[in-house]
Symmetry: D2
């Protein structure tokens, strides 16, 4: 019941703080015999890595992942896979202001109240830096589900959405925003750059689509595939909303408009639509699984905000130093990782119960 | 790792199918010494009970809950509390059509693919009838968190939202829609009645606010309060989206607009706003916890839909018999129950680790 | 993390007290499609049932098990199986003495200290009556592992052991002691009858052998097959010791004496010996799994014992009424059930991770 | 449900193989604010460390533990504590024989059958080296239960038991056998040295006593304190038996002989005896908790044993190189660590449910 673990049969546990010596994850339950090495995991970490454009935080972290256990002669052994990423750029700075006062919108006050004190350096455990561990673990999860293709992208920044008519998956890697719409990417450049220059921040929406998984994954009633995805995504830093399929839009449809009629196909049923986002009764239907995730604008802004000190005195704070004007952008590889982690677990769970 | 269980220290397991002899829940981990009897749980079941107006399904179920264990001389003993609700109105009908073909939008196809066959009577395990067990368990959970007040209501039906200027909590119990806005309730009457008469269905949004809980509940990083709530709500039948605080709207704000500044108060900090919905870093801040849940329109409509038989042949199906034109309405007591269950668990978890 | 649950993928939760209306178990994770009905479970309950000879307690319980969910058209559906057994013979008696004072050697004092009060009627939750739920759940588990044969028997009563030269499995059902040695059974009759007549009690050792399971079940390092068995057996009422294979005797051997040499066989390796009891590194080797379980004499004796009241005053107590002179005898079906439950879980767990 | 994790609220996960770069543990759920540093953990690792006398394996490992997370300014923060111990003395040797054939009595065959292949270097994951991680985690657990004193010692080697009349706790640290009886230690020197010289091995029994814990710890029915201890101890390498209190000897007593009468005391009840080993109904009684653990002789002996190759051919094997003539000796700090880990978890669990 470790609260720093996620998953059932395929289960990972993360550890580490923003400014400690390292962060890491232990992946337990991985099937044996899968070909793996550090090179297979690194590309996912590289995609999440900060400091790659002016649109993300300038912290420089090579994020080199090391495999410390669970692999022998290039294959998983079925024993725990320990992954470690050293923290390199723990920039020496003066933390006296955040040590003494709570940054509004951050976890500072909540952690302090819960635990009595906190590691305030760079956000400590609540820093988005921890998501590197998830991305590494997600790389292992992908090996478990080779039948699945996962694609995430930013669909909206600062309220400006992509045009699905422009959707081009090949475009996603061509811009610093993971945008599948080149025109939107061009517009976002101005939006994010303005936010960056003015010390402000903007929110974003990330969509993730998983294709190739068969019908039958998901464990009703309290291990439903959609409930697992909701927990996985809502647990990512700065996320405030999760939708499956049509999500909130479905609440505005009639039953007829929301129907996903089925017809015979050569290889399983064909569906006329996918309002349900590939999940019915908590179980995959074989259609693409579609998730949408809302990232708030980061609370780290240069405009001073009223707040209180640890002693309860009024003060003002603004976030000095490195800055992520749109934290949702780097959420894309994290959302993909969480999708992979959920699906790997549900695959094994299904195999365990249903053979 | 029972997939029909939810919670960690305060944990419940549900069992039962729509047309079996009974449904029930086993609640484990309840603290000892709490005053309880069946009368304390029944009001919550009565609120969820079907057949109370023409706007919900006409199935008639008294939903009388029995306590079979874990209580002695009117108090919880700390041992498992077994709750049972008999199924009374399993109307005798002809299930041959749903036995042979899959109702589109329902869990029929997914269950059949996962398990090889299914109890097709009334939806079997995937029926919303199971939520009565959650509501009963939620009644126990409320006893664990007397400091918390939970209030849920319908905020939108068929795309028609309440006006927060009209918000009146006292109104919620005065109309069959759990609407805090009398004017909206009047409009919804027509919307839902039209759907009912035409054999159609409409979606709804339910909001839930919990007040009174202290700062410090929530177990980062993979037992975050918001992640737990997301899983709890997304796991309710027909739910397709979950938001905390401003949710997707936060993705359209700037950091300044989304700020929740803090000021000194006599009894903990005062917040100028609650965009965060009472949760930061996965931990409660002491502000009201705000969750919004999207219910799709039920797939049980009278318009025939193309579908396939178990043998893969094309056919058409429509849902005969009893009908819930807006399943979100009866979601209100279920959302409240899940909120109570999550909070009770997080309270005990916090006490366990942090004393 | 329900503490009234056991198992991982195949997981059961029990509820109920000795003198409540019923006891029961919810079995989650059972594979779908297994033929089952109440008649398939009843024989195991009948074997455990009290009042069948003068050598066990005279409480009369028909122990009729009902299946309330998870079964459709005679097959498991993959959803939770709710099993219920009504309490019939809750003999009306005066509990004022045990309500006020602690029976030494029983759980009375410990429960009272932990929970602040207790259901004292017949031992409440700590009564051996709960093991009927385990036996019912074990009946379901057996369906999951048809390849395995489980045989338990009493090997020692009151320090008088069977002679393995007399071992005859067919004899086990022929005497009220589950003895595979007819001569020992004859001797035990006097031992147990003397204990019964004098209001005393005697201890027993139960052995259990599971054959037919393949090599490879067990989940190192903290889900080892032997560790699971140790927890399962030590958790049975009145058990004070558990051995795997040679157990404590192995501590008196040399490495040469304790060796289990292997030789090629037509159907997997042949072993020259089975000191290890069929488990190495926490994983089954394909040899018979051998467990030995020590039951203390029940503390319910007619000789008054010094004890204290709830108020801390000195007093004396003896156990009035129905009496089990050798509680280990009825432990045999319980030990078998726990073996089945552990093996079913490990089988599914292995299938989940290793395919 | 990580099978490489143990505990519920206080939960640790270990990783690492005998000949990988490092081993480690992640401890989750530790209360915040406890003073800790590496120096507080090192003494426990030093006690377990190999190569300190000629009576244990000659592998030279400094076993320096590093804390990588969860600690700030010398105190636990409530977040996961990552502990790492580098493997230093992975002696380069020829593993071709163990790679090709199975050492009888070891986990080689079982691992190979389960996972399809194995890391055969020094036993891989099944090596007793992993217990260093448990000892480190146990050091953290001790901080959680300052009210408890844990004392383990060897009570028997090669069938030669200590004389309780000679018991002197101060003696335990004075001899290489953790013997509380100086005379026994002198005799064991010859026994173990003979085993060492002849390439044989001998078994041992370790006893562990925990004092100072209050009544009320333990979570019936499937998280009983004794069941947890049984799982914890049976999961240690080479362990084949576990007893609580009188254990198997209790099976030879009458109810009168086994009674633990209670009398009023100034600070809780006084008990005339402790046959129960401090646990009733799975809950601590406040008496000392007494556990006895049987270690088999290690299977690594110089006498060649018949075995089979991975291809199923007959061959013979003996264990070359470093050798532990009595593996139970180094089990003492591991047994203590597991006792601490179980008690820390039960303390938090009790606090969580019962406040």
């Amino acid at each position: 019941m470790s609260v720093n673990s996620f998953g059932r049969l395929f289960r990972f546990t993360t550890w580490g703080e923003s400014h400690g010596p390292a962060i890491g994850a232990v992946v337990d339950g991985c099937p044996p015999g899968l070909a793996i090495n550090e090179g297979a995991l690194q590309p996912f970490l590289d995609a999440r890595r900060p400091g790659q454009s002016k649109f993300t935080t300038q912290r420089q972290e090579p994020d080199q992942v090391r495999i410390l256990s669970g692999v022998f002669e290039g294959k998983t052994t079925g024993t725990p896979i320990s992954l470690m990423i050293e923290n390199v750029d723990q920039r020496s700075k003066d933390y006296s202001d955040v040590a003494k006062a709570y940054r509004p919108g951050h976890a500072d006050y909540a952690y302090d109240t819960k635990y009595g004190f906190r590691d305030y350096r760079g956000g400590g455990r609540s820093s988005a830096r921890e998501t590197a561990s998830r991305v590494a673990a997600g790389g292992v999860a992908r090996l478990v589900i080779p039948e699945v293709t996962i694609l995430a992208y930013v669909s909206e920044i600062g309220g400006d959405a992509i045009d699905m008519a422009n959707f081009d998956a090949a475009e996603i890697g061509n811009n610093p925003f993971f945008s599948p719409d080149a025109a939107a990417a061009a517009r976002w450049e101005a939006i994010v750059d303005n936010a960056r220059k003015s010390g402000s921040s903007v929110g974003a929406v990330v969509e993730c689509v998983a294709t190739g998984l068969p019908a039958g994954w998901g464990a009703p009633l309290y291990g439903k595939l959609d409930a697992d995805l909701a927990a996985a995504m809502m647990g990512i830093n700065a996320v405030k909303g999760v939708e499956i399929g049509d999500g909130f839009a479905a609440a505005r449809l009639t039953g007829e408009q929301n129907a996903d009629p089925m017809r015979p196909g050569t290889d399983g049923p064909l569906f006329d639509a996918n309002h349900a986002g590939g999940i019915a009764g908590g179980i995959s239907t074989g259609q693409p699984v579609v998730v949408r995730v809302a990232f708030k604008p980061t609370s780290s802004i240069l405009t001073p905000q009223p707040t209180i000190t640890r002693d309860g005195e009024a003060t003002e704070l603004f976030t000095k130093g490195r800055h992520d004007p749109c934290v949702g952008i780097r959420g894309v590889p994290v959302v993909e990782a969480m999708m992979a982690l959920v699906l790997a677990d549900q695959k094994l769970l299904h195999r365990g119960q249903c053979g």
